[in-house]
Symmetry: C2
Amino acid sequence: MEAEFQPLFEPNGIAVIGASRTPGKVGHEVLKNLIDSGYNGYLCPVNPKAEDVLGLKAISSIKESNDNIDLMVVCIPAKFVPTVMEEAGEAGVRCAIIISAGFKEIGPEGAKAEKLLLETAKKADIRIVGPNCLGVISTGPISFNASFAESMPKPGNIAFISQSGALLTGIIDWSYQEDTGFSKIISVGNMADLEVTDFIEALRHDENTDVILVYMENVRDGEKFLNIARKACSEKPILIVKSGKSSEGAKAASSHTGALAGSDRAYDLAFQKVGAIRASSMEELFDLAKSFSMQSPPEGENTVIITNAGGPGILATDAVASNGLKLASLSESTQELRKFLPPAAGFHNPVDMLGTATSKEYSQTLEVCLRNESVHAALIILTPQAMTDTPKIAEKIAEIKKNYLKKPVIAAFIGGEKVEEGVEILQKAGIPCFPFPERGVKALAGLTKYAEFKHVSPEEDYPRFAVDKKAVKNLFSQVKEEDRVNLLVSEGIYALSAYGIEAPPTSLASDPEEAVDLSAAMGYPVVLKVASPEVLHKTDIGGVEIGLKNAEEVKKAFKRIIYKTRKRMPNARLYGCVIQKLVPTGREVIIGATKDPTFGPMIMFGAGGIFTEVMKDVSFRLAPISRNEANKMIFETKYYSILRGVRGEEPSDIPALIDTILKVSQLITDFKDEILEFDCNPAFVYPKGKGCQALDVKITIRK
Amino acid sequence: MEAEFQPLFEPNGIAVIGASRTPGKVGHEVLKNLIDSGYNGYLCPVNPKAEDVLGLKAISSIKESNDNIDLMVVCIPAKFVPTVMEEAGEAGVRCAIIISAGFKEIGPEGAKAEKLLLETAKKADIRIVGPNCLGVISTGPISFNASFAESMPKPGNIAFISQSGALLTGIIDWSYQEDTGFSKIISVGNMADLEVTDFIEALRHDENTDVILVYMENVRDGEKFLNIARKACSEKPILIVKSGKSSEGAKAASSHTGALAGSDRAYDLAFQKVGAIRASSMEELFDLAKSFSMQSPPEGENTVIITNAGGPGILATDAVASNGLKLASLSESTQELRKFLPPAAGFHNPVDMLGTATSKEYSQTLEVCLRNESVHAALIILTPQAMTDTPKIAEKIAEIKKNYLKKPVIAAFIGGEKVEEGVEILQKAGIPCFPFPERGVKALAGLTKYAEFKHVSPEEDYPRFAVDKKAVKNLFSQVKEEDRVNLLVSEGIYALSAYGIEAPPTSLASDPEEAVDLSAAMGYPVVLKVASPEVLHKTDIGGVEIGLKNAEEVKKAFKRIIYKTRKRMPNARLYGCVIQKLVPTGREVIIGATKDPTFGPMIMFGAGGIFTEVMKDVSFRLAPISRNEANKMIFETKYYSILRGVRGEEPSDIPALIDTILKVSQLITDFKDEILEFDCNPAFVYPKGKGCQALDVKITIRK
């Protein structure tokens, strides 16, 4: 456990501020829970009006405490909390769990109180859990229940961090029935000080925790989350249910926590980037938790299904495909299986041992399959038939599994009373068992996903190209000086060029004569585009003319464009026209970026033109990205099949496209505090070896 | 109950063929199960070697039976079954449940035996369940267990038809734990005679059944299923888990049942067409079953979420959005809720009553919400907090719900022991309760989907246009006479024209001179396309020339095309070239059709050109289709936004497109035994009022 969190998870002494003699009051329940949970450090009720509470000698103020108290649990009304913080700081308290409500969650008044609280705590050098939380529970190494949840969970290797306190009481109660144990339970409340990420970091160092579960509504500091969660994920799996997925959900979330939530897509990308696994429901979260707490991730995706009932075997096969796993090929093992299974059995994957399967057949089949090197994981299905000795089968499965520690085995025993004993035997032996095969397959898929993440290097390598960062910085300053936020195309192309992104020669001409000179210099034919910070959709107002072949055409076009723009947008500032050398048409793509309020720059790649808007054939990542990520972004679009070369057409220059995307990633990362919107649309990708060109780009910077 | 099934579900007397005195033998277990299940009709063991079995007088052959026996359960080896069928027919038996295995499922030998069995049964006028099945169980009106599943389920209003017998034993055992009751359980086995559809029809008439559940691997007669299931769905919900979804699953399915399965997409379309609800997993199947057995479908999609815990409320909100439901607007009720809920509560949807919520607050809130006319359904979430009186809350919910029969109420009580009693109270009162909110929302979504189906007229109206069917018939005969299966473009366009589908003038020219004459008659410019039944991809071999403006160009193009084709495909039969009048370009779409082996003609609509192949922006229906379905097909594609007119562009002629799709539907339905493949690609859709034109069409007919 990290030093900073030592007092929170391994306190020498705990004070309960507002400890009460009245049952039902939070200050009473918390103290009672601490006593009942067998906390054996120094426990000190603080109550100005009582000599003792629940048999413990009380002090009237935290000021009177001895030096042993490093953690306090605060259960008094909000308005009294700041004073207590000051006193506690002087008394040497290091951490406070503030259960008291009446802060940010009640509106602007409360938010002000919370700000004051945080300031006082910082001065007093006290770290805060909460306010408005359920508390903290630890089952080891030191066992205590510093919460008002009346039950203590069973000890286990799963830690649960929750942004909903009310959810925790239900989950603790439910976990008894499911025989699930927890190492720590942390209700984070309003996260005035410590947020989800801090606890992830703490649990990374916690020897009692193997799996970290999170119910999340938002992250406060996106960058911190990315750094810390990535490190944690490379050591322990992090499983997250994030609510506020839908816009409706997000609305509910922000009124609930009073927090400004980032868009859900950014969260998805963040989890993907750090290797955290997102569960789609509470049930899936706990199915995954159970599996991760009992089994190691597999070394591959090849799964074998072993069953005594055909139907459920096929359902599991469907689930294997829809969850991105693969059926292992058993061709090597078929001969061996034929030796002991009945001739009518199914010898391919799924292995259908038929309804007559004995414990010996189960164990032999499992052994043969796990021995097969191309098998990475197994799902064992059982339905209770007349001759099914379920407990014996469970014992045998557990026995075989012991010899294959790196190959996860998950079971689905379909039934009630008849399979109960078998299920218990399996789970005691560390083999998770589900009532239906689909849930078992989903759990295996989760394990596999984590294995894939660990397989890929957790420290991604973000390529840095030699660029002229200063040129872009100066450009942005200049634009700001002119009181603009939108760059002209010529300026945008200049910025891209400074980052090594190829583009046709592009210059600003303020009058027709300059346009002709510039055109002659770059060579005909050329394109003219109106240059105005106010005109965003140039084509719509007739502000673009293509394929101008000589001085005469350029002059006329210049005048026409200026005339049309003046007529349609009389108030637009007019800088003249941008001249661009006409280049051959390539495959049209878009490279864009926006800024997520939580996680910062987000890069987008997609098919250009109509595909972007209508087909929404795009993919996203959080920037900066690695070469591998750029590659995957392209691969994820359907347009990839066109870039690759469909129906004998020439393949496009994908390596050049990857470089272009990486350079954009570098640009938006370098200027993450400046660039708000970025749209390079279109860029042309030429056939292999011929590169990419950025034709147009819109950049909006911060005021 | 229909007359035909009377003996199966309400037998006057049952004979057990192969009734055995040896425990463990199927013939013993079946008889024992019949006795134990309290069957009070005439029960007759048949065993040539025993005077009595399990205390009942045995007869040595079914021939000796009296007229009371109308149902027999057959438990003897496969080879003896046909003889028994003959004898039973003479003895007046009407139905046979054949548990015996050794038929189609064991391979070609068994398939032969099954064929013989079926022939014998037909002659004897006996309907068969099975062979290779678990049997049939009924809990009412007549209660009996004619299976070798040792437990009898609790009585209930759910019927379960299963193509997997082994699955049933698990489900019966599991249902005790879940307190789920069944009216009938039917293991269909190999479906030699009676198939899933027959039982759906029977259960439609069964007064004890309100919900029909199916575990399906395949349907034998697609058309019969469509007709019967549609009728049944309009009376009772049919919930289906169909396995073999993935190609991997389908492989496993066909080796399991030996049946030729249709493609999974066709099943999806078939379920959609009849209004059956497809569950994505066993768990979802039973969640839906529980909900349908207890609650009525809602009158709309507006759902209210009532909770005492914020987090689960947001998770439910997310689930509402992702399952296609809507959050009801509570603006009308907010004032009223403010009267009794604490000021810090959430008054919008979800209604967060806070952790302090009492049974009175639960009941008042539910009452206020259900009274609101814009609310169609409710999800009630509970987590056990210190002051949560769960049983009382459950009672109150049940009380309020009684007054709102048309508004389904589903609960999610998160917890274990602390919520157990409440859950029991709710479920006894007919309110399904789930451990997590997401499952509750999914169940509500299922109820809503069924309500939508019932809302739409179950008898779809398939428009019939006045067409020249005979012309197409003659054309197909002629093509067949020439020993061809692929129609020339000119022939295809002729067929379309016969069905009132517009197309540019198109004719076959056998030499350059004829081509010139035809071109002159239709007017320049024209298009030339090679006419050969062997050339399917005309463009690829240079077999198409566009925009020919005069006689000279037509002559030259004709010769070039013939030359190129001869060179590239020397063995292709060459009919000359098809001349087509060049028409202006419109929005490119594709209208296609294939034939599913089970469900017949399947029609496809999609965006043409690159969109079809790369973006797979297409939608399917089983033909024939209604106007409403054609409309939905267009709407389901992303290309719809282009057809509708994006960014101020002119909208396309969607009514004309709908007519065109309907006419194709009529053509492929009229010739469903002839047309194997159909691709009208491209068709052009012109701006509103200007119609559609079919430019090219490939039709492949049966040999």
